[in-house]
C-alpha cells in the first residue's frame, strides 16, 4: 500500500548508482585537470573564441531579455526558438539533396530563421485574426512547430545517408561541436543586437513603459516592436548551437528577471542582467567544454537558475530577505509608536507627564490590544533605545521619550482631525484609518497638515474621539473639531479669493 517506505529503502542504492554516474564524468581526473587549466588560461584558440562567443551571446540575451520582460513578451522567445527546429531539419534535407555540406551552419541557420519568422507571423496572425489570446497562440505555435521538427528529424534518421547526429546539439546545445568560425558568427550577431539596444535604449524604455504615450509622440510602435522581436529572433537563432532551442528562452528571461530583484533603475537592471547573462554563458560553456557529456544549454540554464535563486532570496531591492527585514522594521516602529502614544495618553489622563511611580505593565496591557510577548519585547527595545526606564513592573518615560511621545501623539491626532475634516471620514473610523496612514507620513505631509490645521506648532490637539481607556465625555474634543471647521472654511474662502 504505502509506496514511501519502499522508495526510502531503495534510496541509498539509487543514490549510489547516481553518484557513480556523476563520478564517471570525472573519471579521468588528470585529463580533466589539464583541461581546466587550459580553459582557465585560455590556451586553446578554439576555446577562447567559443567562450567569447557564448559570453557575448549571454550579454546580448540579458539586455534584450530586459526589454522583452518589461514589454511582457518574455515567452515569445520560447515560441520562436521552438519554431526553428523544422527549418533546421528541412535545410538539412535540402542541403543533402543538392549535395551541399549538410552541416554548414549558415545553411542550417537560414532554415531556422525562416521557420522562426514563420512562427512569429503565425502567432501574430492567430492573435489578430481570431479572438484567441496571445498565450494560446504561443502554445499552439510552439508545440506544432516543435512537433513538425521532431517528425522531420525522425525522417532524417531513416535516410540512408543521414548523419543527423549533429542536429541534436541544436536541441540541447553543445559548445563542444562549435568551431571558431561559428563562435565568431555568434559574437557578431550578438554584438549587433547589443548595439541596437544600446542605441535605442531611450526609445525602447518608452515603448515598454508607455506604449500609448509613445504613439502619441509619433513614435512608430510597430517598427520598434519589430526591432525588438528581430533581436529576439537573432538571439534565439545564434543561441541554438550554444544553448539549444529548448533552453534559449532561459537566457532571455532568467537574467532579466533576476536583475529586477537588485535595482529599481532600468539602466542598472540592464547592466546586471547583462552581467548575469555573460557569466552564465561563459561558465556554462566552460563546464560543457570540460565534460562534453553535459549539454552546455543545461549548464547555462542551471547557472542562471542559481543566480535567480540568489536574487529572489538576497536581492537588495526586492529580495525576500530584504523585504521581510523591512517589514520587521516597520512592524517594530509601529509597535514603538503605539507604545509611546499609549504611554502619553495614559499620563495625559492622569493629568501629568511626570508620574512619579510610572505606569505598570498591567495598565499598559489593557490599554491596547497587544499580544503579551509583543508588549514585552517592545518595552525591552524601548528601554534599550532610551525612550523609557523600567523599574520592576513600573515604566516611566525618559526626557527624550516624553518629547518623542508628545510628537507622535500630536502627529496622530492631527492626522485624525485631517481625516475627519478633509476626507469626510466618520469619527468612529478615524483611529483605524489614522493608524493605517500615519506610519507612512512624511515630515512634509505633517508640515502641510500643520498649516492647514493649526498655526500653533507646539500645541497637542485633543483626541477628536474617545480614547479606548476614557469613558467620560469628549466635549473638549468637539470644541477642537468646531474650531477646525471654522478655520477650514476661512482657508477655503481665502483660496477662492
Amino acid at each position: 500500500m504505502s509506496v514511501l517506505p519502499l522508495i526510502l529503502a531503495k534510496f541509498p542504492q539509487a543514490a549510489q548508482v547516481f553518484l557513480s554516474h556523476v563520478f564517471a564524468l570525472v573519471e579521468n581526473r588528470v585529463a580533466i585537470w589539464e583541461q581546466m587549466q587550459r580553459l582557465a588560461l585560455l590556451q586553446d584558440y578554439n576555446t577562447r573564441v567559443v567562450l567569447f562567443g557564448t559570453a557575448t551571446l549571454g550579454c546580448a540575451a540579458g539586455v534584450v531579455g530586459v526589454f522583452t520582460l518589461l514589454r511582457k513578451r518574455a515567452l515569445m522567445g520560447d515560441a520562436i526558438s521552438h519554431a526553428t527546429l523544422p527549418g533546421i531539419a528541412i535545410s538539412f534535407i535540402l542541403a543533402g539533396t543538392f549535395g551541399w555540406n549538410e552541416k554548414s551552419l549558415p545553411i542550417l541557420l537560414a532554415g531556422a530563421t525562416a521557420t522562426g519568422l514563420l512562427g512569429v507571423v503565425s502567432i501574430l496572425a492567430i492573435r489578430n485574426l481570431t479572438k484567441l489570446k496571445e498565450d494560446t497562440a504561443l502554445g499552439v505555435v510552439l508545440s506544432v512547430f516543435f512537433g513538425a521538427g521532431v517528425s522531420l528529424l525522425g525522417i532524417i534518421q531513416q535516410m540512408p545517408k543521414g548523419h543527423a547526429a549533429g542536429l541534436e546539439s541544436f536541441i540541447l546545445g553543445k559548445t563542444a561541436s562549435m568551431v571558431a568560425s561559428d563562435a565568431i558568427f555568434i559574437a557578431t550577431a550578438s554584438l549587433l543586437c547589443l548595439a541596437c539596444c544600446a542605441l535605442m535604449f531611450k526609445e525602447l524604455k518608452l515603448l515598454c513603459f508607455d506604449e500609448i504615450f509613445a504613439g502619441s509622440r509619433g513614435y512608430p510602435i510597430l517598427t520598434l516592436d519589430l526591432a525588438l522581436m528581430t533581436s529576439v529572433v537573432i538571439i534565439s537563432i545564434v543561441g541554438l548551437q550554444a544553448v539549444g532551442l529548448i533552453m534559449v528562452v532561459a537566457l532571455l528571461v532568467i537574467p532579466a528577471a533576476s536583475a529586477r530583484f537588485w535595482t529599481d533603475s532600468l539602466g542598472n537592471m540592464t547592466l546586471i542582467s547583462a552581467g548575469i547573462g555573460t557569466f552564465s554563458g561563459i561558465s556554462g560553456a566552460g563546464i560543457s567544454a570540460i565534460f562534453p557529456r553535459l549539454p552546455s544549454g543545461a549548464m547555462i540554464v542551471l547557472i542562471c537558475a542559481g543566480w535567480f535563486a540568489l536574487s529572489v532570496s538576497a536581492g537588495s531591492r526586492r529580495g525576500l530577505i530584504v523585504r521581510s527585514l523591512r517589514r520587521l522594521k516597520i512592524n517594530r516602529s509601529v509597535q514603538r509608536q503605539h507604545f509611546l502614544r499609549t504611554m502619553f495618553e495614559l499620563s495625559e489622563e492622569a493629568n501629568s507627564l511626570a508620574i512619579v511611580d510610572g505606569i505598570s505593565l498591567a495598565t499598559l496591557s489593557v490599554a491596547r490590544t497587544w499580544r503579551k510577548r509583543e508588549l514585552i519585547s517592545t518595552v525591552r527595545r524601548s528601554v534599550k533605545e532610551g525612550w523609557i526606564t523600567r523599574i520592576g513592573n513600573q515604566i516611566k518615560l525618559t526626557k527624550k521619550g516624553k518629547i518623542e511621545a508628545a510628537r507622535l501623539t500630536r502627529q496622530h491626532r492631527l492626522w485624525e482631525l485631517f481625516l475627519i475634516h478633509h476626507a469626510d471620514v466618520a469619527p468612529s473610523r478615524v483611529d483605524r484609518e489614522a493608524d493605517h496612514i500615519e506610519h507612512v507620513l512624511e515630515p512634509e505631509t505633517v508640515a502641510e497638515l500643520e498649516t492647514i490645521l493649526s498655526e500653533d506648532r507646539q500645541r497637542i490637539p485633543q483626541s477628536p474621539h474617545e480614547l479606548p481607556h476614557q469613558q467620560h465625555d469628549s466635549s473638549a474634543a468637539r470644541n477642537v473639531a468646531n474650531d477646525l471647521e471654522k478655520k477650514r472654511v476661512n482657508i477655503r474662502n481665502q483660496e477662492n479669493c
Binding site: 518589461l70 542605441l199 535605442m200 531611450k202 526609445e203 524604455k205 518608452l206 515598454c208 513603459f209 508607455d210 500609448i212 504615450f213 504613439g215 502619441s216 509622440r217 509619433g218 513614435y219 529586477r260 535595482t263 529599481d264 533603475s265 532600468l266 537592471m269 478633509h422 476626507a423 512634509e444 502641510e448 483660496e495
Partner: protein, 270 residues
C-alpha cells in the same frame, strides 16, 4: 531652413489663427462595433474644455483617434489647421494613469524626461540640461522633491502629477488629458485645476476627459457631451443642462446602441 524669417512668421501667424482642434465627421469602429459616429466639433483657442459622457461613450477613443493612435474609419482631424502628424509637437497628451505599469523600474524624473525624448532625438542620450528642464516642469506641479523616487513609491496623486509634468515639459499649445482627476486626492485635484487655469491664461487650450458632473460647471468653460456621437457641444452655461445630460446618460437605448447590438448578434451567428 531657407525660408526667410518674415515668411516663417507669417506661416506661424496663419497657424496660430487656425483653431487648436477641429474634428469633422470622425467615425471609429473596433471589430465592426461602432465606437464613435460622425463626431464633429471645434475647440476655440485658450479654453478649458471638458469631455463628459458615460462609460463606453468613446471618450478615450476620441482622444486616441485624434492623435492617430487608433485609426479612424472616416473623418478629418486638424490641429492648428494641420494634420496631427505635422503638428504633434504642439500637442501634449496625458494618458490614463491606469494605462501603465507603475512597477516599472524608472524614477519620476525619468518619466517626466520621456516628454522630451522626441526633442532630444532618436538614439541620442538624455543630457543634464534636459533633466533640468524636466525638474522645472516637476516644480510647476509641486513634485520636484520626488524626482528620484521610484514611481511605485508615489501616491496616486503624485503619479498623476508626474504624468502632467511629462506633458508640461513639452511646452505644447494644446493638451489632451484623459481623466487627470480620476482617483486623486483633494489636494492634487485643486492643484491640477489651478495649474490648468494658469495654462489657460498663458493661451493654451486644454481638453480634459472628466467624470465628476458636479465640478463641470466650475472647472470648464466649454463642454462636449459625448455618447458615441456628440450630444451637445458649446459653452458650459449654454449646453450643460439637465436635458442634454439626460440625452447623454439616458437609460433608453439609442439608435446607435441598437445598431451595434444587432451587428454583434449577426457576428455571433456567423
Amino acid at each position: 531652413m531657407t525660408e526667410d524669417p518674415k515668411n516663417q512668421s507669417q506661416n506661424q501667424d496663419k497657424r496660430t489663427q487656425a483653431v487648436p482642434l477641429s474634428v469633422r465627421d470622425l467615425t471609429v469602429a473596433y471589430h465592426r462595433k461602432p465606437v464613435l459616429w460622425d463626431v464633429e466639433f471645434e475647440i476655440p483657442t485658450g479654453s478649458l474644455v471638458g469631455i463628459i459622457g458615460p462609460n463606453g461613450a468613446g471618450k478615450s477613443t476620441l482622444l486616441k483617434s485624434i492623435m492617430g493612435i487608433i485609426p479612424m474609419a472616416f473623418g478629418k482631424v486638424e490641429i492648428f489647421g494641420q494634420p496631427y502628424r505635422k503638428s504633434q509637437q504642439r500637442v501634449g497628451y496625458v494618458p490614463q494613469k491606469e494605462s501603465v505599469d507603475w512597477d516599472f523600474p524608472v524614477t519620476a524624473l525619468d518619466v517626466v524626461t520621456m516628454g522630451l525624448y522626441k526633442k532630444i532625438g532618436w538614439c541620442l542620450p538624455v543630457r543634464s540640461k534636459h533633466r533640468t528642464e524636466a525638474l522645472q516642469a516637476m516644480e510647476r506641479v509641486g513634485i520636484a522633491d520626488l524626482a528620484n523616487r521610484q514611481i511605485s513609491e508615489l501616491s496616486g496623486g503624485q503619479q498623476q502629477r508626474t504624468f502632467l509634468a511629462r506633458a508640461l515639459v513639452q511646452n505644447a499649445d494644446l493638451y489632451l488629458m484623459d481623466e487627470p482627476f480620476a482617483a486623486v486626492d483633494a489636494a492634487t485635484e485643486s492643484a491640477i485645476i489651478k495649474m490648468l487655469r494658469v495654462m489657460k491664461s498663458e493661451g493654451k487650450t486644454v481638453i480634459v476627459i472628466h467624470h465628476d458632473l458636479q465640478t463641470v460647471a466650475s472647472y470648464f468653460d466649454h463642454v462636449i457631451l459625448l455618447n458615441m456621437r456628440v450630444v451637445a457641444d458649446g459653452p458650459v452655461n449654454e449646453v450643460f443642462h439637465e436635458d442634454n445630460l439626460n440625452k447623454t446618460y439616458g437609460g433608453r437605448l439609442t439608435l446607435l446602441d441598437e445598431v451595434s447590438e444587432a451587428m454583434r448578434r449577426r457576428e455571433r451567428s456567423i
